[in-house]
């Protein structure tokens, strides 16, 4: 009996951590771009989907998941740079309405364009053989790939934090998001910094898409499926707050990981429960600015 409870606990914790990692990874880029540039990208999960599809192609061509993990986010980020220069840059000062509207249009275009390229089918992406196995802890089966997902999310958190807090570039980026004129006057090209931040945001989206692919497969509806949860994480965390998104993703992970076992009939409402719970106590989200 107690071993059964232990295995449930271990399994539930792992599931919670996996959800945490997944929810955070998908939302991270969205909140970075919003926090730094004030740009709300409704097509964010379209780039996440694009990451999955490109990974499918790269993995198919090279036979290596690692190559896909390396290349696909870069390719998507490059696409993002082009789009940023052509489209998004025109709307930094235009207000959230225009940004949302433009990116909705873009989401339609990406969805259909990727169907033109990859067709309408779902594809499986195999995890690399080294991550395909599973281990048993206290009677609970743990797929190694889940551990990889958790690891990937942790690395991501550390890299972003180090980049933003520990480097000179990060300092300039943070300064540019608050006082663009000042940073411009200091001789930095604010324009390029914005492009860079956008590229990082889309890199994160695509990275999440690649990591997700062996778990979920890639399929045309994956952008829509991820969008609401990503928005919920970002809103409840406080728009633009990376730590907020991290904590809310964690709450969501806890509720999903353990709730799915005990209250599976209400699983569809879990994200709203978390959102409602957070907003009840902090109407602007966990780390939201009062003025928003």
């Amino acid at each position: 009996m107690s071993s059964h409870v232990a295995s449930l606990l271990v399994a539930g914790s792992l599931d919670a951590l996996t959800y945490w990692s997944l929810a955070f990874m998908v939302a991270a880029g969205l909140t970075v771009v919003f926090g730094m540039l004030g740009f709300l990208n409704a097509a964010h999960t379209s780039f996440y989907m694009l990451g999955g599809y490109v990974a499918y192609t790269v993995a198919g061509a090279t036979g290596s998941f690692w190559a896909a993990l390396l290349l696909a986010p870069l390719l998507v980020a490059v696409t993002g740079v082009i789009l940023e220069r052509l489209l998004f840059a025109k709307l930094y000062r235009a207000g959230h309405a225009s940004q949302l509207l433009l990116t909705i249009g873009l989401a339609y275009v990406i969805a259909e364009a990727s169907k033109l390229v990859w067709g309408d089918s779902a594809f499986a992406v195999a995890p690399p053989p080294s991550l395909a196995g599973r281990i048993t802890v206290l009677g609970a089966t743990l797929p190694v790939y889940h551990l990889f997902i958790i690891g990937a999310a942790m690395v991501l958190v550390c890299v972003i934090a180090a980049l933003l807090l520990g480097t000179r570039l990060g300092m300039v980026i943070r300064a540019a998001s608050v006082h663009p004129e000042m940073v411009g006057a200091l001789g930095f090209k604010v324009r390029d910094i914005y492009t860079l931040v956008f590229a990082v945001g889309l890199y994160l989206a695509a990275f999440a898409g690649v990591v997700m692919a062996p778990l979920e497969g890639v399929y045309p509806a994956m952008a829509d499926d991820a969008l609401v949860q990503a928005f919920i994480v970002v809103v409840a965390g406080g728009l633009g707050s990376l730590p907020g998104a991290f904590i809310v993703a964690g709450l969501l992970g806890l509720v999903q990981g353990f709730g799915s076992v005990f209250f599976s009939a209400y699983a569809m409402f879990f994200p709203f429960t978390v959102l409602g719970g957070v907003l009840l106590f902090r109407p602007v989200g966990l780390f939201g600015a009062k003025s928003a």
């Binding site: 949302l100 509207l101 275009v109 364009a113 709203f272 928003a292």
Partner: protein
């Protein structure tokens, strides 16, 4: 916003007042013509066209209600389908339970229930603005969708609700029709839609209430220090928009004699944004035009290519970048452009 009518100013600047009046008159004439064409449509077009038009005007009213929030309060709702869908289901259930009551009464009840819902939800949403507002409405609509999807006993889940049919179309209870024809239903829809929409237009364009809503939109802080309860003003407009979306949903249920989760899902909330901006958010009636164009264009495109949504997306991007006023905004600015040299010549 209405031109500020000031006799002194008009006397001082007759040319300008003349042009302003001309614009207002033309707008009024176009509106009347638009509504007249809609009413006369059954005599002018085929039944299939009326069938399409029926859905288009319901969508149009829905888009108008969305635009009431956006144009007058600057609030971009991403979950407006919550009210539309809620009302569509409510209307279907009312018709199933009270089939004997006059339909306009039931529609009114549905519209009211939607505005009560709007009042309650607005308490949460309206406290935020900008992106927060958009995302909060999105999340609430997603919750509504989840409820409609799961609560099979009330909503029919993925099957939807059907087999409800008004037994009497108009206020006269004796007018029993087993299966009202397309034109009858269409005219009933218009008989409700036009007065409701015109009333909303008048409320926002002609009364102090409308000017308060606009004042709060333009400068919420100053409005507060002039004594406006800005939260309540926005909440009132949110309630109005929700009620109007509710009437649109009720009419939609009657026009389709069918309700499904499509009327409450997130893509429908997005569709209405697209319709409103395609038609133009600067003119009150723009979204109505947007709905007609959207239905016509999407039917035409979808018959041509399965990838029609790429064109829809591109068209939308172009509208956002180059014609933020949508179709009617484009026409309006062309018309002003055409008028300018003429007016100058008149001096």
């Amino acid at each position: 916003m209405t031109a500020y009518p000031d006799a002194l100013a008009e006397a001082r600047s007759p040319r300008r007042a003349q042009v302003l009046n001309l614009h207002a008159t033309v707008e009024a004439l176009v509106t009347v013509a638009l509504l007249a064409v809609l009413v006369a449509a059954p005599a002018l077009f085929s039944r299939a066209t009326i069938n399409d038009l029926g859905q288009a005007v319901c969508l149009g009213l829905f888009a108008i209600s969305f635009n009431i929030l956006f144009k007058y309060s600057g609030l971009l709702s991403f979950g407006h389908a919550a009210f539309f869908g809620f009302a569509a289901y409510t209307q279907a259930l009312l018709l199933q339970s009270f089939a004997g009551l006059p339909v306009p009464l039931l529609i009114l009840a549905t519209g009211l229930s939607a505005s009560v819902l709007g009042y309650l939800i607005g308490q949460i949403c309206v406290r935020r603005s900008g992106a927060y507002f958009s995302m909060t409405t999105l999340a609430i609509a997603a919750l509504f969708y989840a409820v409609a999807f799961k609560w099979h006993a009330a909503t029919g889940g993925t099957d939807g609700l059907d087999s409800f049919m008004p037994s009497s179309l108009m206020l006269l209870p004796r007018w029993h029709l087993d299966s009202p024809g397309i034109s009858e239903t269409y005219l009933l829809v218009l008989a409700i839609l036009i007065p409701v929409a015109v009333a909303a237009w008048a409320l926002l364009e002609l009364t102090p209430f409308g000017s308060a809503v606009v004042a709060v939109k333009h400068n919420e802080k100053r409005a507060a220090f002039l004594g406006y309860d800005t939260h309540r003003v926005k909440l009132a407009n949110f309630t109005l928009a929700a009620g109007l979306a509710g009437v649109a949903g009720a009419l939609w249920a009657i026009d389709n004699s069918f309700v499904s989760t499509d009327s409450i899902d997130l893509s429908f909330s997005t569709t209405v944004v697209i319709i409103a901006f395609l038609g133009g958010s600067v003119w009150f009636w723009g979204p109505l035009i947007g709905a007609v164009v959207y239905i016509a264009a999407s039917d035409w495109l979808s018959a041509l290519t399965p990838h029609w949504q790429i064109w829809l997306g591109l068209a939308f991007i172009l509208v956002v970048l180059f014609a933020p006023g949508g179709i009617t905004g484009l026409v309006k600015s062309l018309w002003r452009l055409a008028l300018r040299p003429q007016a100058a010549a008149n001096v």
